[in-house]
């Protein structure tokens, strides 16, 4: 029987009621990036936090400069600098509690360092002696992730798992403006919202994905507007205002911790350096643009606020710089030592137990290395 045959029985009841699944209004981001420094909101900021942020920004900037210098000396294979983005990096690290997890991308070694990872270990991937230099469990920092946006579902899964276990854990995941175009971004945010996972997504919108400007990346009013499509709140923040980033992230983390689900935060910032030391930024942007952003430098913004409010003086500034110099000197010294390399590590930890196939290959390499060593040990020109 087709529906048409039912005509007689048709009761003109109202159509099934449609309800928005969530009220969209509160999900929409502010119309301008949230700012604290230089605004009235600054008065409410915790002075100790502002000082702490300042010290970390100064150290972070020095860290970036040092790491870039290390590439010139051939001590790093490559370095994607976060110069100009330190406010995001540092706030992301500071906003988390000890049991929380950070999910950094390749650009976020500073965030890992600010969370406590030894900078030499944080730089291992980029030095090239191993893929990850630290035990992720030690500071609850996931490995630096290179395939764009693929770390986002990991953060969601981890946060979800912690919640299933009844643990008080929030995951904070970092991604770039370019990374938001990847399918994994979409899938991660959707899973997070459906599962109400305790996770915070921080997009560092630095205006470029390598050479591709935001205008070629998205036509959205803002990246934060994407949040509404997942049913989570979107927040827009001045990414060079460390106090503002910290506050917005702290709200989002608290919300997640309280069971309120995920938040998408877009921080408007700028990468002052090239994409990496191997990149030539003059090919795709004007110096004038870079200069504009130098005037909105995260360190200067905070320094001005601290100075204006008498929270720091020349001594305090000098102390922060000295600390940063000492930090850089230590890093330099340690990075100038050759890392220990063991070719047999190729086969380590591919599986819990090497397969028979890998054992054969292991033996092959071992024999090669022994032959090489023997040859090297032989006195010039002949037999021992």
């Amino acid at each position: 029987m087709t529906v048409m045959e039912q005509r007689g029985a048709y009761r003109p009841s109202p159509p099934p009621a449609w309800q928005p699944r969530t009220d969209p209004t509160p999900l929409l981001p502010d119309t301008t990036p949230y700012r604290v420094l230089g605004t009235e909101a600054a008065a409410k900021a915790d002075p100790a936090l502002l000082r702490r942020l300042y010290a970390e920004l100064v150290r972070g900037r020095r860290y970036n400069a040092q790491a870039t210098a290390l590439t010139k000396q051939g001590r790093l294979a490559v370095y994607p600098s976060s110069t100009g983005q330190e406010a995001c990096e540092v706030a992301a690290a500071l906003v988390l509690q000890e049991q929380d997890w950070l999910f950094p991308s390749y650009r976020d070694t500073l965030a890992a360092v600010a969370r406590g990872v030894d900078p030499v270990q944080a730089l291992t991937l980029l030095r090239g002696d191993w893929h990850t230099g630290y035990d992720p469990h030690a500071h609850r920092v996931a490995p630096l992730c290179t395939p764009l946006a693929t770390q986002l579902p990991h953060a969601v899964g981890l946060a979800h798992a912690a919640r299933l276990k009844g643990d008080d854990v929030v995951a904070l995941a970092l991604v770039g403006d370019g990374g938001t175009s990847e399918g994994d971004f979409h899938e991660a945010l959707n899973f997070a919202a459906v599962w109400q996972a305790p996770v915070v997504f921080l997009v560092q919108n630095n205006g470029f994905a390598i050479s591709v400007p935001l205008a070629k990346q998205t036509a959205a009013p803002s990246l934060a507007h994407k949040a509404v499509g997942y049913g989570m709140p979107g927040r827009l923040v001045d990414g060079n205002d460390a106090a503002a980033v910290h506050e917005v992230l702290a709200d989002a983390v608290a919300r997640a911790r309280a069971g309120g689900g995920p938040t998408l935060v877009e921080a408007i910032t700028y990468r002052l350096d090239a994409h990496t030391n191997a990149d030539d930024a003059t090919r795709y942007r004007e110096d004038a643009e870079v200069e504009t952003w130098r005037e909105h430098d995260p360190i200067l913004l905070l320094e001005r606020e601290l100075t204006a409010r008498g929270l720091i003086d020349e001594d305090g500034i000098r102390a922060a710089r000295d600390d940063a110099e000492a930090f850089a000197a230590d890093l330099r010294t340690r990075m100038n030592q050759d890392p220990h390399l063991d070719p047999m590590d190729l086969f380590a930890h591919v599986y819990a137990e090497p397969t028979p196939q890998l054992r054969e290959q292991q033996a092959l390499l071992r024999a090669e290395l022994e032959a090489e060593a023997e040859l090297a040990a032989e006195p010039e020109g002949g037999a021992r």
Binding site: H131, P147, P153, H154, A159, A161, L164, A171, N190, P356
Partner: protein
């Protein structure tokens, strides 16, 4: 001591039972995928699990395979043992990047500090009259990806045993379920399943002296049938079921080939760049002087998987296997 009657069970039932036992045995085991909860999966392999263990242990996810595997990675990072269902072979492709760039590398990347004990169940292969994208054999992709185990049962007992092993493994396992054997039956007692053998062991399913058929998963019954039929031609064929493609059991396979001196690799997957090339090459490397003839391959053709009405011409069947056996240069017989 009670004696339990051994009743025939299907491979599907054995798989369900393995999941159920794993969920019961270890609270860290979580099943997730599309339609695995309320519906029990499109093949009903997860039937009843959500009811018995709760939605949080057997979870209907949003429809996104990269998201499923990606979140499973995060869950495993936190110490869980996710068992992921990909609805069909071809629908595992969206998760390829997560698999190849993360799942298989995380342990190595982190020097062993962050293993990922994830089981990825993939119904694979054809022969069920499925329309486009429902009959792929994707094992070649997984074999070429270091860091994964690749396992596939061909019998009811192995379905149970290998799946339990896969879930218990601290490494990621791609667990390939031959769709067309889901409803194959075997005497098997769910309440007293046979001892579980470790992953990585092939098994001789039929002994013979003339030549060895090397196969796995959906092609095992076809090979056994071919071996029966071969008797008429005077060939006594040995049939080896690999069960595990990674790790590969060179020992069992080569022992057989050394005995028989001739071998044919049989699988549904396309021939070119397929598993058979690896298998033939490694057997030849190891058994060269025992071989009376080159190791031959009977495989699916190197074409997109055909529509249901034509699949019988594509799939390796008894005749095609016997033809290959016939080409094993019997004139060279010692």
């Amino acid at each position: 001591m009670t004696t339990v009657a051994v009743k025939p069970a299907t491979m599907a039932q054995a798989l369900t039972r393995a999941l159920r036992d794993a969920l019961a045995a270890d609270p860290d085991v979580h099943v997730l995928g599309e339609d695995v909860g309320t519906l029990g999966g499109v093949f009903r392999i997860t039937d009843g699990l959500a009811k018995e263990f709760g939605d949080h242990r057997c979870t209907d996810t949003p429809l996104a395979e990269a998201g499923i595997l990606g979140t499973a990675v995060g869950m495993a990072m936190y110490g869980l043992r996710p068992v992921v269902e990909m609805q069909f072979d071809a629908f595992a492709y969206p998760a390829f990047e997560q698999l190849v760039s993360h799942v298989c590398r995380m342990r190595n990347r982190t020097r062993g500090t962050m293993p990922l004990p994830i089981t990825i169940r993939v119904p694979y292969g054809g022969g069920i009259g499925g329309v486009e994208h429902h009959s792929d054999s994707s094992e070649a992709y997984y074999m070429a990806t270091p860091g994964l185990h690749v396992v596939t049962p061909a019998t009811v007992a192995d379905a149970y045993g290998l799946l339990r092993q896969a879930i218990a493994s601290d490494d990621p396992v791609v667990f390939l379920e031959p769709k067309r054997l889901y409803w194959s039956k075997d005497a098997w007692n769910p309440d007293d399943p046979p001892a579980v053998e470790p992953i990585g062991r092939a098994v001789v399913r039929r002994s013979g002296r003339s030549a060895t058929l090397i196969t796995y998963g959906p092609s095992l019954p076809v090979c056994l049938e071919a071996a029966e039929a071969a008797r008429e031609e005077g060939w006594d064929l040995e049939v080896v079921d690999l069960r595990s493609l990674v790790p590969f059991d060179d020992e069992t396979v080569c022992a057989s080939v050394r005995r028989t001196g001739r071998a044919v690799v049989v699988h549904e997957s396309g021939g070119f760049g397929g598993p058979g090339g690896e298998i033939a090459a490694r057997v030849t490397e190891r058994c060269f002087h025992y071989l009376e003839a080159p190791v031959l391959r009977v495989a699916g053709f190197d074409v997109p998987y055909p529509p249901p009405m034509l699949e019988r011409y594509h799939l390796p069947g008894v005749d095609r296997i016997l033809d290959a056996v016939g080409r094993l240069q019997w004139e060279a017989e010692r």
